[in-house]
């Protein structure tokens, strides 16, 4: 009896080794195990003890390396990580799980697509009512994505209530203020409500673990991947629309109304849900793209920023801070922050500082230097022209990003000098997330009345 148990344990151990091979799927492991058992039975029948038989049988099968190489030649596709949408026949439990996810995603995406057309029942028009659709645009997609994530996470009822409450608050903020289509505040509300509601999606993503720094970092990863998937889907959508126009025009039907009134808005909001689902489904199936892009662009951005600083020093000219300049430099800071965040997200927290970290420090410091120059130029201008919602929002963002990057630079510097562990930097970034959310909500809720709905 114990000999049999021993044997079973050895089989279990052997299975573990086999399953670590990516070339061998569980069905192969089953098949090979059956083979091994056949071999063992035969050896036992000729008089070997079970443990001896096991050893001989394993030895006969040959090394696992060789075996998996042979399998890899036939199943080379297994070395490419594949996204299995409906699951194979390997693990029934995981299969039903992913299928249920698929259905939940389809329902949420369809809900998003329907919801953006609903206002038309009340006489709204995508073409004419920009003042309505602009601020509300994120409300057609993000609640559905949050719903999908919440469905996956099954958070406590209290958190669900908070999520619903925040979306209602967003809807109220977008619609209660009397903003004209031409006012600056419409655009500002549209942008900042999107940021604020994305943070609500984030709350739905981290769910009950909203305090955990690791989970917040996961949300940062999720954001980057989601964005990349959305861009890819949008590119595909562009091709689809181009063909729709081309083919239907060829037979004398003008598909413009269909494409602009149905395909683009419905596809756009549904794509956000689909992108979120893809990120969830493909975790660990596909390599994360955002960190790869970060690796590519960090040196390039550093070079450009340093070049800009040198050129600025040589010409000693003034920076043209008219109109869009502040927003441009805000966006620069956002890009630098993104580069910083996504290389943080893919970094092994225990690895010692490397050249790349120094490069990153150079990037952040040069971005800070440029931003300080811009801020020096701009402070005089604001009192000159008086404040507008645009300027106030842009300036506020600049200050927030500056504070984040300045402290990040300090932490990076200390990390490169090996006086602070890497995790401090990660904590700083994840702890800063609520600041963005708070500022976005302030802009959405307080700015319109503050600037008398200008």
């Amino acid at each position: 009896m114990t000999a049999q148990e021993d044997l079973e344990e050895q089989f279990a151990q052997w299975r573990q080794y086999v399953q670590r091979r990516r070339e061998l799927v569980p069905a192969d492991a089953d098949e090979l195990e059956d083979h091994l058992r056949g071999s063992v039975d035969e050896l036992v029948a000729v008089g070997l003890r079970p443990d001896e038989a096991f050893l001989v049988a394993v030895k006969r099968m040959g090394s696992l390396d060789e075996l998996s190489r042979e399998f890899a030649q036939e199943h080379s596709e297994r070395l490419w990580k594949q996204l299995v949408l409906t699951g194979g026949t390997d693990t029934p439990a995981a299969d039903t799980g992913s299928r249920r996810d698929l259905w939940a995603m389809v329902i949420c995406a369809a809900g998003a697509a329907v919801s953006i057309k609903l206002p038309e029942l009340f006489g709204m028009s995508l073409e004419r009512d920009g003042a309505f659709y602009g601020p509300n645009i994120s409300l057609f997609a993000f609640p559905w994505l949050a719903a999908f994530l919440a469905w996956r996470r099954q958070p406590q009822p209290r958190l669900i209530a908070i999520l619903v409450g925040l979306f209602v608050l967003g809807a109220v903020a977008a619609n209660v203020y009397p903003l004209a289509e031409t006012s600056q505040s419409v655009v500002i509300t549209a942008i900042h409500l999107t940021i604020a509601l994305w943070m609500v999606v984030g709350l739905s993503y981290v769910a009950d673990e909203w305090r955990s720094s690791r989970r917040r970092m996961d949300f940062i990863r999720f954001t980057g991947e989601c964005f990349i998937y959305f861009v890819l889907i949008a590119l595909g959508g562009g091709v689809l629309i181009a063909f729709t126009f081309g083919t239907f025009n060829a037979i004398g039907i003008n598909p413009e109304v269909f494409a602009t009134q149905w395909l683009m808005p419905c596809g756009g909001v549904a794509a956000i849900v689909v992108a979120g689902w893809l990120v969830e489904a493909k975790q660990s199936v596909v390599e994360n793209i955002a960190p790869v892009l970060t690796r590519l662009f960090t040196p390039l951005f550093t070079a450009v920023l340093l070049g800009f600083l040198i050129a600025f020093g040589l010409t000693s000219g003034a920076i043209d801070v008219e109109r869009e300049a502040l927003i441009l430099f805000d966006l620069l800071l956002v890009v630098v922050l993104g580069l910083l965040l996504y290389s943080l997200s893919a970094r092994d927290p225990l690895a010692p500082p490397r050249l790349f970290d120094k490069l990153q420090l150079a990037l952040v410091v040069s971005a800070l230097a440029i931003d300080v120059l811009v801020l020096l130029q701009i402070t005089g201008r604001i009192s000159e022209y008086g404040t507008t919602p645009n300027k106030a929002a842009a300036l506020g963002e600049n200050v927030i990003l500056l504070a984040n990057l300045a402290w990040s630079a300090w932490l990076l510097f200390r990390f490169v000098r090996r006086t602070t562990p890497f995790v401090t930097l990660e904590r700083w970034q994840t702890g800063y997330l609520p600041v963005y959310a708070a500022w976005a909500w302030i802009v959405v809720l307080v700015f319109p009345p503050l600037f008398s709905y200008f």
Binding site: D34, G62, E70
Partner: protein, 124 residues
């Protein structure tokens, strides 16, 4: 004597298809069958057999199913398809050609060898 690896690989497909043409079977039994038939001279490994079975399945020559025969473990059984039978017939034709040609040559050699050997002996 062990059969060379290339030859084992070349003859693997018709052998497996031939065994499966008799009746459906599973990996271990196929391997044992080949061992018995060749008196242990054919050095087949699991790394050869299972990927080959999977390839034949992908090509549609065999189909597989997990079955549990009474009193036995659950096993993956392979069954030959009509397409596999056609493939087997084609491979047989090719092999027959090769074997016939080889026999022709070797038998011819056997007849000629004494003639070639004779002058040598005569000179000695």
């Amino acid at each position: 004597m062990k059969v060379a690896k290339d030859l084992v690989a070349a003859s693997a497909t018709p052998m497996v298809l031939g065994i499966l043409a008799e009746e459906e079977s599973y990996g271990y039994a196929i391997l044992r069958r080949i061992n018995e038939m060749s008196g242990g001279e054919l050095d087949w490994t699991e790394g050869l057999l299972y990927p080959l079975l999977h390839r034949l399945e992908r090509l549609g020559h065999v189909e597989s199913s997990w079955q549990s025969v009474a009193g036995e473990r659950r096993r993956k059984y392979y069954r030959i398809t009509d397409q596999g039978l056609a493939e087997l017939a084609e491979q047989r034709r090719q092999w027959d050609t090769v074997v016939d040609a080889l026999k022709e040559i070797w038998l011819g050699l056997g007849e000629r060898r004494p003639m070639m050997a004779l002058p040598l002996e005569g000179r000695a």
